[in-house]
């Protein structure tokens, strides 16, 4: 259990709940009740049923034959892109909306980068008939326009945020401010394994379904539930947390997270937090951060709005520190190349975020009988404009 959160909300030296007193009553209520609620039979029944009949789980584990031939090793894709709303994000929002209902909350807020978490939140709010407000950086509103339209059609209010770089960090700041101002009726559905305890643990538990399925699906297809390695992209780290979760104690399985290098880790346009960051406190969590010597957060950059974040979940900071997981990075350019390759080899257009995990295939050393699982966290519909502009179709 070295990799699970402790009772104070820490993964080793990382995590905790560095909240101002204005958020205390909400966080304390969540902390006291989340496990009891999540593991009640009533919750589990509804959660499992929605995952199956609404999200469309289990998502396939697909043997990518032509991609495997290209790299000379066996590659399986965990198809989170086939979930309803097009990414892994719905696993978490389904869990949190059920939790919010049990807590008697009548208003939901969320932050979003790529808009996938915003859409997943707006979707479950429509499903339950609950009011929904989504904060989104003004830059992201522009570059992920299809998702903004979806959220609006789903009945959510989308609030563009103009502070900072107008991206995910700034949207998160604004969502936290909203929660401070609305402490009684509102639940904040955080979209990744970030924020104060118990969010990182709670979101990881909701996403853990990914690795639970990989285990039995791999066993079914290969006769061995353990792959050689698992690759997943890391923004805040929720799809990676879900893909790693049930393999954390299987030390022989290599866990690899892939961060966004943007224009390169030696430029100041990057979002590779673990590579260029240091420990600090942001968004109520002690974790690895991109910051200057004065403790001011530096603005990140990535072509992918979902990875454009200067922090990382405390669980990943701990896995990095202990060496249990390895973290690579991929540049915008490498990512676009990888996206085109899988599109034309497998007929799958990936989300820009997920293409970071695919780009790392170029950097891994394979033995011929290795089994590599790539978590394909989302589909590329929202990124078509970026792809079309770059490839000039």
């Amino acid at each position: 259990m070295d990799y699970q959160v402790d009772e104070k909300g820490y993964y080793g030296e990382f995590g905790g709940a560095w909240i101002p007193e204005m958020m205390y009553s909400n966080i304390e209520e969540l902390r006291k009740r989340y496990l009891e609620i999540i593991y009640s039979s009533k919750f589990q029944e509804e959660f499992t049923s929605l995952l199956k009949n609404y999200v469309g789980r289990p998502s396939p584990l697909y043997f990518a034959k032509r991609l495997s031939a290209h790299y000379g090793t066996d590659i399986y894709l965990k198809r989170e892109d086939l979930n309803h709303t097009g990414s892994h994000k719905l696993n978490n929002t389904i869990g949190q909306i059920l939790l919010a209902e049990k807590l008697g909350k009548t208003r939901i807020i969320a932050e979003t980068g790529a808009g996938q978490h915003g859409v997943a939140t707006a979707t479950v709010c429509a499903l339950k008939g609950i009011k929904c407000v989504v904060y989104m950086g003004a830059l992201d509103v522009g570059r992920q326009a299809p998702n903004v339209k979806k959220m609006k059609m789903l009945g959510a209010e989308v609030v563009p945020v103009y502070s900072g770089n107008k991206t995910l960090k700034d949207a998160t700041n604004e969502a936290m401010r909203d929660w401070i101002n609305n402490p009684v009726d509102t639940h904040y559905i955080i979209g990744s394994v970030v924020g104060p305890h118990p969010y990182p643990d709670m979101v990881a538990r909701f996403q853990a379904i990914i690795s639970e399925e990989i285990k039995w699906q791999l066993d079914e297809q290969t006769g061995n539930e353990l792959p050689t390695r698992i690759l997943a992209c890391v923004g805040g780290g929720s799809n990676a947390a879900g893909a790693f979760y049930h393999f954390l104690e299987d030390r022989e399985v290599e866990l690899i997270g892939v961060e966004a290098a943007g224009k390169g880790i030696d430029t100041n346009e990057t979002a590779a937090t673990l590579t260029v960051g240091s420990p600090g406190v942001l968004h109520a969590s002690k974790t690895m951060l991109m910051q200057n010597a004065d403790g001011q957060i530096t603005e990140p950059y990535s072509i992918s709005a979902g990875l454009d974040y200067p922090g990382i979940g405390p669980m990943h900071a701990h896995l990095f520190k202990t060496g249990r997981a390895k973290y690579l990075y991929a540049t915008d350019k490498e990512v676009l190349t990888a996206a085109l390759l899988i599109t034309q080899k497998e007929g799958i257009i990936p989300a820009l975020e997920s293409a970071h995990a695919l780009a790392a295939l170029e950097k891994a050393e394979f033995a011929k009988d290795d089994v590599t699982v790539v978590n394909l966290s989302g589909r590329g519909d929202k990124d078509m404009e970026t792809y079309l502009n770059y490839f000039g179709y």
Binding site: E21, S163, G164, P183, Q291, D294, G295, I297
Partner: protein
């Protein structure tokens, strides 16, 4: 203990005026003169804000002043340099207020020592939670005669208020309503029941009420329920391009307590 905060509360039981401003705003090197003018104009206590890139508990005005201050080049190191001679000119208690990360990068122990050396009497670090403070940092504060000022809100339970009281040594910062800074309160929205509930607890520490105190009416109303009140956003808004701080500050303070 020879701390100016305790001396202030011993000498003055009501209508204490505490003023917050963001260091480095409007101009980088205004810090010393703003503090000096505030004392001269009748402020009892000054909270000097350490700007942070991501002020999640603040409304638009303090966000903007923090952003501008950082753009102007303010850092915690520079702030201590600016405050180095402050005790030759100013005798009212001074508090540094800011988010935890800049202090954490500076070193919490080093921060407390530097405060002591500079003549700073207290610190308000809203995102340093009570349990982290007690577990890891309290000795640094105590050793340096630096009060850690803790917050309570209308949502804080009686039992937690008692824990805050037990851990507090200067005063308790009573957040007027559940909000970020700068939400203008009307006198009639005051959480009178909350203030009365707190007053009935017989706490050992005095209280100041802050957040949303913007003018004479809200200041006077807050003073009915506590030893005094804190003004931040409204003071920051009072800076303007036309008047030097030597003129705008006395005018603003007079509008509150004149």
């Amino acid at each position: 203990m020879n701390n100016r905060i305790n001396q202030l509360f011993a000498a003055k039981k009501e209508n204490i005026l505490s003023v917050y401003f963001t260091a480095g705003y409007p101009k980088l090197n205004d810090t010393g003169s703003i503090i000096y003018e505030l004392e001269k104009s009748g402020a009892d206590l000054v909270e000097v804000g350490i700007p942070f890139s991501d002020p999640t508990a603040d409304g638009p005005v303090i966000q903007q002043s923090s952003h501008k201050a950082l753009e102007n080049g303010m850092t915690l190191n520079l702030l201590f340099e600016q405050l180095a001679g402050i005790r030759e000119k100013v005798s009212i208690p001074l508090i540094l207020m800011g988010y935890f990360n800049p202090v954490y990068q500076f070193g919490v122990k080093e921060f407390c020592e530097k405060c002591n050396e500079t003549g700073i009497d207290g610190a308000i670090l809203p995102d340093l939670p009570l349990d982290e403070y007690l577990e890891n940092y309290q000795p640094f504060f105590e050793k340096n005669n630096l009060h850690n000022i803790l917050l309570i809100t209308p949502q804080t339970s009686d039992s937690r208020i008692r824990q805050v009281d037990a851990a507090s040594t200067g005063f308790i910062y009573m957040v007027s309503s559940s909000s970020t800074t700068g939400k203008n309160q009307k006198v009639e929205d005051f959480h009178q029941d909350y203030f009365e509930r707190v007053n009935k607890l017989n706490l050992k520490n005095p209280r100041l009420i802050g957040f949303g105190i913007s003018d004479k009416a809200t200041f006077n109303n807050a003073c009915k329920y506590a030893s005094g009140a804190i003004i931040g956003t409204a003071f920051i808004k009072s800076f303007n391009k036309k008047e030097p701080v030597t003129e705008s500050i006395p005018k603003f303070i007079k509008s509150i307590i004149g």
